[in-house]
């Protein structure tokens, strides 16, 4: 495959990942934000722990969907880097695959240090 054509394909894949992520986030945020305003309960002031997520979602609590939208927003860029890693590996562009892996490792370290702090 020619480099120009291959790059076009890569650009389309990355832009689609970003588009799906942000569309999901904005839809979820908007719906849960307005549902929260309609209910007598006030908006949450802290995030729900990941362990409590499934039960909060199954109860249909708006704050669970608000938090879910935040989590999806925060993982979308990481997902984009993951997709790039897979694409670089598939194209045998090992240097860029290592670079993408390093960036992912830094992001994972950041989350880990945050939890431990």
């Amino acid at each position: 495959m020619q480099k120009g054509k291959a790059d076009e394909e890569l650009n389309i894949i990355v832009s689609r990942v970003l588009l799906v992520g942000i569309s999901l986030v904005i839809s979820l945020m908007s719906i849960s934000f307005f549902l929260s305003l309609l209910r007598p309960v006030s908006l949450p002031t802290s995030t729900i722990s990941l362990a409590d997520f499934p039960s909060a979602l199954s109860q249909g609590r708006p704050e669970a969907f608000l938090n879910l939208s935040l989590v999806i927003l925060l993982i979308t860029p990481s997902l984009c880097v993951t997709v790039l890693l897979v694409e670089f590996v598939r194209r045998r562009q090992w240097l860029f695959a290592i670079i993408a892996l390093t960036v992912l490792a830094v992001l994972a370290l950041s989350a880990t240090l945050g939890v431990r702090g």
Binding site: L18, I22, L43, S110
Partner: protein, 276 residues
């Protein structure tokens, strides 16, 4: 209700920011802390979340059209994300007054950048040989393909680290450091520099945002309305931008940022002229 005030803060920040080519973060943090009484760490966390949303929204078009140089962006992202992570950790350790002071200094610098940035012009050299990190894109305004090489990568990596650090520390995108560095030091065409910086900002902001989120500093009550407002503001701004003289708007915003800079510096010493 306060949530609607947060939506309005987001709308104005996103609208003004997009119109002059800055992320909304530089306006969100002082507006939330000085006018809405939000604690500075929560304001920074909300700003980082909003910055991620605006960066993703902008990057979709830039990446699809081929303006963003993904390989260069990822390479620089190694140092930028490390900077963002360290910035987030530092912000969690600093007290409110010190953060206000640092933000005040940064706002003053951004204000200065806004006033001089029109002098930053393309310095790239057309090259058929792109090298490992160079790129090419079709420029509709020139009616031709632009090919460029990347120079001085170590300078770019250092500047990216600083930009990432400021992003994690203050909740801003850091484009005001990345874009001039990409253009002046690394010889990237203006369009590619803006697009590549936009692509990078979301990933960089994530490195800082993970620290804030996992430490419970992201308040959905603030972050969600601000993010919705910023996204709507940036969208409205993209529609209005062709009808607005951005030169005058840039000067007005530079003056506002200078005023906010002075107030943030005063806040570092416990003085608030705005009464919050």
């Amino acid at each position: 209700m306060q949530v609607f005030l947060f939506v309005i803060v987001g709308l104005i920040s996103g609208g003004l920011g997009a119109m002059v080519g800055l992320g909304g973060g530089v306006i969100i943090v002082p507006a939330l802390t000085l006018f809405c009484g939000v604690p500075i760490r929560q304001a920074i966390a909300a700003s980082l979340v909003a910055v991620i949303a605006t960066s993703i929204t902008a990057a979709i078009g830039y990446v699809r059209e081929g303006f963003a140089n993904i390989r260069l962006g990822m390479t620089l992202e190694i140092s930028t994300s490390i900077g963002g992570m360290l910035g987030g950790l530092t912000a969690a350790a600093l007290n409110r007054e010190v953060l206000s002071g640092i933000f005040g200094v940064a706002l003053g610098l951004i204000s200065g950048y806004l006033l001089v940035r029109h002098r930053i012009a393309d310095s790239y050299t057309l090259s058929c040989e792109q090298g490992l990190l160079g790129g090419c894109y079709y420029d509709p305004s020139l009616g031709k393909e632009v090919h460029y090489r990347v120079r001085r990568l170590p300078v770019g990596l250092l500047a990216s680290f600083i930009a990432g650090n400021i992003s994690g520390l203050l909740g801003v995108g850091g484009g005001f450091i990345k874009v001039p560095t990409l253009i002046i030091a690394m010889g990237i065409p203006v369009k590619a520099a803006i697009a590549t910086s936009s692509f990078m900002i979301g990933i960089t902001a994530c490195a800082g945002a993970y620290i804030y989120y996992t430490r419970g500093m992201v308040n959905p009550l603030v972050a969600v309305p601000v993010t919705l407002g910023v996204t709507a503001g940036a969208y409205i701004s993209s529609r209005l931008a062709p009808r607005v003289k951005s030169v005058y708007l840039t000067i007005i915003l530079a003056i506002i940022l200078l005023g906010l800079s002075i107030q943030m510096l005063l806040a570092a010493f416990g003085i608030n002229l705005l009464g919050q």
